[in-house]
Amino acid sequence: MNKMNITGAESVIRSLLAEDVSTIFGYPGGAIMPIYDALYDFREQVNHILVRHEQGAIHAAQGFARSSGKTGVVFATSGPGATNLITGLADALIDSTPVVCITGQVASHLLGTDAFQETDVIGISMPVTKWNIQVTKSEDIPAAIARAFYIASTGRPGPVLVDITKDAQFGKFDFQYEKCSSIRSYLPKPELNVDLLHKAASLINNAKKPYLLIGQGILLSEAQNELMTFVEKSGLPVASTLLGLGAFPAKHPNYVGYLGMHGNYAPNVLTNECDVLIAIGMRFDDRVTGDVSRYAKQAKLIHIDIDKAELNKIIPAEIAIHSDAKEALTALNKLVQSKNHDEWLNEFRKLELEEYEEVITDAIHPKEGELKMSEVVNLISEITDGEAIVVTDVGQHQMITSRYFKYQKPKTNITSGGLGTMGFALPAAIGAKLGAPEKEVIAIIGDGGFQMTIQELGTILQCGAAVKIVILNNNFLGMVRQWQQLFFDRRYSFTDIKNPNFLKIAEGYGVSGEKVTTREDLKIGLNNLLSNKNSYLLEVIVEREENVFPMVPTGASVSEILLTEKHGTNI
C-alpha cells in the first residue's frame, strides 16, 4: 500500500482503494482536476458515475450507502460544486447516512482572496456535517481520508467532507496508508451499562402492555436478527418509524405498523395506552410524537440509542441506555423472559381492523373512479412480495408508500425522512441500484419531486443503472395541496403544477416507458416495468385530490389521530 513520490491527487485515489471504495459519484471541475486526472489511471478499479448535478451525486451516494451498508463517496469541485452538496449533506446528517465528500479547493495561497470558484466550504458545511477538514498539504491527505471514513461509518453514521486545496493535490510525497481505528476525543461505541440493562429487562418482564418502537438504528447496527429474537421471546408489539421500515418484516404477526403523522391508527393511538415503551434506534421526531406534552405520559420509557444527545432530548426516559442497538438487544435477549401478550396485541388488531374498514380497503381496492396512489403502491408491494428496494421522494406518494408497501427486508426502504428533500428519489435510486445490483430497485416519485432532479435521467443514460421509475402523477404538489385543503381553506396557492410530457423526456434520455390511466392497464404497466431489463418509466395518472389519511394534525396528540377527513372536527 506504500508508494514513493506520488501526487496528493493520486494519494486520494489510493486512499479510497485502501478503504475498499468501488464506486464514486461525482462531477469534475477546475479545482478537482488533478484528482480526476489521477482517477483516469484507475478506471478499471473504480467505477466513477458521472452525475448531472452535484446534488444528484450526493443523493446517489446516500442511496448507495443505504442499500449496501457501505460508505458512499462523492467528488465535487470547489465553489458551486461544493455548495450544490449542501442539501445532500443536511439530508445525510439528519438521516444518519455515512457519506464521504471530497471537494477540490483553490490553491492554499488563494484561500480567503475571493479567487475564482472559491467558497468557504468548511464554514458552509460545518452545521451539516458530522466532521469536516480542509487539507492544504499533500502529506496530510491519507490521514484525513482515513479519519473521514472512520468518522462517517462509526457511532451514529453521518456525512463528512474533506476539502483539498489544488496545491495539495499537485504536491508529491511518499504515500503510506493506515486505516483509522480510534480518535481520543471520539467514542463511537459506548460501553454497555449492565445495571441499566437489568433494570430495563425487569421493567419489560413486569410490564402488562409493553410496546416496542424501532428506528433506523436497528438497520445501521444490523440488529434485525437480534430484534427478531427479542420480539419473539418477549412477545410484544412492534411499530416502526419511517426510516425503520424494513428492519422488522411487515408481515410478522407482532408487527403492528408504521408510526407518526400519516402512520397507522393502532400504533399511534396505543402509544398512549402502553405501560412500558421501549424505543430502540429512533429519536422521537416531531412527526412521530405529535404533541410531546401528551405523548406516552402514562408509560415508562426505555430509550436505547447510540447518540447520547438523543437520550432525554425530546421525551424524558425512565431508563436511558447509551448503546449500539445490536449490543443492547443481544444483552437484553439473555435477560427478558418468554412472554405472551396476545390480549394486548389484540387491542392493536381491533384498531387495525377499524382502520382497514374505514380507510385501507377503499384505498387499495377502490371499485370505481380514477386510480389511487395507494392501490398502485399496494399492487407493487404484492407483485414484488415486499422484497424490492423502494426509493421514495417526498410528499403524499412517500407517506402512501410507507403505509402500503409491506417492507420485508432490511435496507430496502430508502427515503428522505428527516429533511424531507424533494428530488431525492431519482438520484438515490441510481445509487441504490449500484449498491445492490442484484435487487430490483423501484423509485416511486411524485410529479413535482421528479422535476427537481430530472436531469439525473442523463446519469441513467450514461451508466445504465436499471432503475424502475414510477411517477404517481396527480398534477399537483399534493401534500401541500392537502394541507391547503384541510388547514388553509382550500386556497390552492401555487400547488397546481403544469407538467411536461414525461415520456418524451425519458425517451430523450433513452429510457422507455408508458403512461397508464386505468385499472386494467395498471397491472400490464407494472409488469412491463418489472420485466424490463433496463430502466423504465411508468407514469400513472392518479386521482387529483386524493388525501393521505389517517393523519395526526399539527399540535394534536398521537391518540387524536384522525382516521378519515370526516373524523376531523376542527378541519
Binding site: G123, M126, S185, D307, K308, A309
Partner: protein, 174 residues
C-alpha cells in the same frame, strides 16, 4: 427557570472547532454572555469557558450536543456556586499627578494595580467578579476613562475530578 451557567469545553487544538461549538448556541437562539479559550493543564488540550443564561434543561442539551462534536473531549456545565471564577479588566486614564492622593485611595480600596505609566496615560488592571470590576469603573469614571476593556470569565470547577481523570477513564494516555 433561567440562571447563569458556566460551560467548560475541552477540545483538541483543531481549526474550526470554535465555530462548531458556537453554531450549537446560534442554532438554539442562545446568546453567549462571554467566552474565553486557552490551553489547559493537559498539553494540546484547549479549554473554553462559555457563560450563558438559560434553563438547566437547555444547558444539558447544549452540553450533549457540544460533547457530540468529534474534536471535543469533554464538556461540563456548572452553576455559579459550583465554580471559582474571575474576570480581568484594563482601564486607560489620562495621567494626572495632581489628584491629591485620591487615585491611590481608589486603587488600594479596589485592590487594583497600575500596569503602565507614561506622561500621557496610565493603565490600571483589576481582576475580580464582574460587580467589582464595574464598581472600579464607576470610581474611575470622574477621572475620565479613555478606554476600558474587560475579558470574559475564566472559571474552574469546585468538584475535584480532573480532566485527566476523565481522559484516563476514556482509556487514553495523557
Amino acid at each position: 427557570m433561567e440562571q447563569t451557567f458556566n460551560i467548560s469545553v475541552f477540545t483538541e487544538n483543531s481549526i474550526g472547532i470554535l465555530n462548531r461549538i458556537t453554531i450549537i448556541f446560534t442554532r438554539r437562539h442562545l446568546n453567549i454572555e462571554s467566552i474565553t479559550a486557552s490551553e489547559c493543564e493537559v498539553p494540546g488540550v484547549f479549554r473554553y469557558t462559555i457563560v450563558v443564561n438559560t434553563s438547566e434543561e437547555k444547558v444539558i442539551k447544549v452540553v450533549n450536543q457540544i460533547e457530540k462534536q468529534v474534536d471535543v473531549l469533554k464538556a461540563f456545565y456548572h452553576s455559579d456556586s459550583e465554580v471559582v471564577y474571575q474576570e480581568m479588566a484594563l482601564y486607560k486614564l489620562p495621567t494626572n499627578l495632581n489628584n491629591g492622593g485620591e487615585m491611590e485611595q481608589i486603587l488600594r480600596m479596589h485592590h487594583a494595580r497600575i500596569l503602565s505609566l507614561s506622561p500621557e496615560f496610565t493603565t490600571i488592571e483589576k481582576t475580580g467578579r464582574p460587580e467589582e470590576i464595574n464598581s472600579l469603573f464607576e470610581a474611575l469614571h470622574p477621572f475620565g476613562v479613555l478606554e476600558y476593556a474587560k475579558s470574559g470569565r475564566v472559571a474552574i470547577s469546585k468538584p475535584m475530578k480532573t480532566l485527566e481523570d476523565y481522559l484516563t477513564e476514556m482509556s487514553f494516555e495523557v
